[in-house]
């Protein structure tokens, strides 16, 4: 699924990486527990989370995840966005709740692993 589609399906705002909306993600994972995310890394390259702190960006960095979507209308601070930009990570914010956001993407064909 193209990142531009993710953006549209989740009514998301792109906070960094606007120029990369043509890139594709193959699968996704949703969790507020970072070690949970670290447990299933293989091909997932989109993370949906309601957790907002610098360790989310670290987790994404370690696992080579391409894009993180903060759900429930949470807005990361400038420091977090800067960290993501430095590491080439796309960041979006969506008003949807975690369950709904995952369900919306899943129903449009973006699977887990």
């Amino acid at each position: 699924m193209r990142l531009s589609e993710v953006k549209e399906i989740l009514s998301a705002q792109v906070l960094c990486g606007e120029d990369r909306m043509e890139e594709e993600v193959a699968c996704a994972c949703g969790s507020d527990f970072l070690s949970d995310v670290l447990a299933y890394v293989h091909e997932q390259n989109l993370l949906l989370t309601g957790m907002v702190n610098p360790q989310v960006i670290r987790t994404v960095e370690m696992t080579d995840i391409k894009c993180v979507v903060f759900v429930r209308g949470k807005r990361p601070g400038e420091d977090i966005i800067r960290m993501a930009r430095e590491r080439g990570i796309v960041v979006m914010a969506s008003p949807e709740r975690l369950y709904t956001a995952c369900g919306l993407l899943y129903s449009k064909g973006l699977r887990g692993n």
């Binding site: 507020d32 527990f33 970072l34 070690s35 949970d36 670290l38 447990a39 890394v41 989370t49 957790m51 702190n53 610098p54 360790q55 989310v56 670290r58 987790t59 960095e61 370690m62 696992t63 080579d64």
Partner: protein
């Protein structure tokens, strides 16, 4: 190739800086041109170990050695030690309090992840003295 040795101090209780050592190591592994999956495994192992030292052991030190055929991670702390290692290795077992959980840690998945992504894992721990976790990741 001569072995490459890296060493990083890890500050206890610093949630903003936590992960900095793993981040730096990952960059070095990339510069050395190692395969992406090897880098990812080593980065996750190191990051889980680093976070554990920050959360459970008031910091410590991470030493990394890279040779032709493997990466060795050695995480050393002078924390409280682990009373029951078998229990700590179980998925879902965690002694993390609410503050740690509110930051996204405490799923009890860190040590299981370190086992999952390393080819060898040794834990040497003594109550009141500290813990040393050694992980080896094979290259190729």
């Amino acid at each position: 190739m001569e072995p490459v040795r890296l060493s990083y101090p890890v500050e206890g209780g610093d949630f903003i800086q936590a992960g900095e050592a793993s981040s730096k190591m990952k960059m070095t592994l990339k510069k050395l041109g190692l395969p992406a999956d090897v880098i990812r495994k080593a980065a996750i192992c190191m990051y889980e170990g680093e976070i554990n030292m920050v959360i459970h052991a008031n910091g410590g030190r991470a030493d990394v050695e890279i040779t032709m055929d493997q990466i060795t991670l050695r995480m050393v702390d002078q924390g409280p030690g682990i009373p029951d290692v078998a229990r700590a290795m179980e998925e879902g077992y965690s002694t993390a309090g609410p503050e740690v959980r509110s930051l996204g840690f405490g799923a009890g998945m860190g040590l299981p992840n370190m086992k999952r992504y390393s080819d060898e894992l040794h834990i040497d721990t003594e109550l009141g003295k500290g813990t040393t976790v050694i992980m080896k990741i094979k290259i190729g």
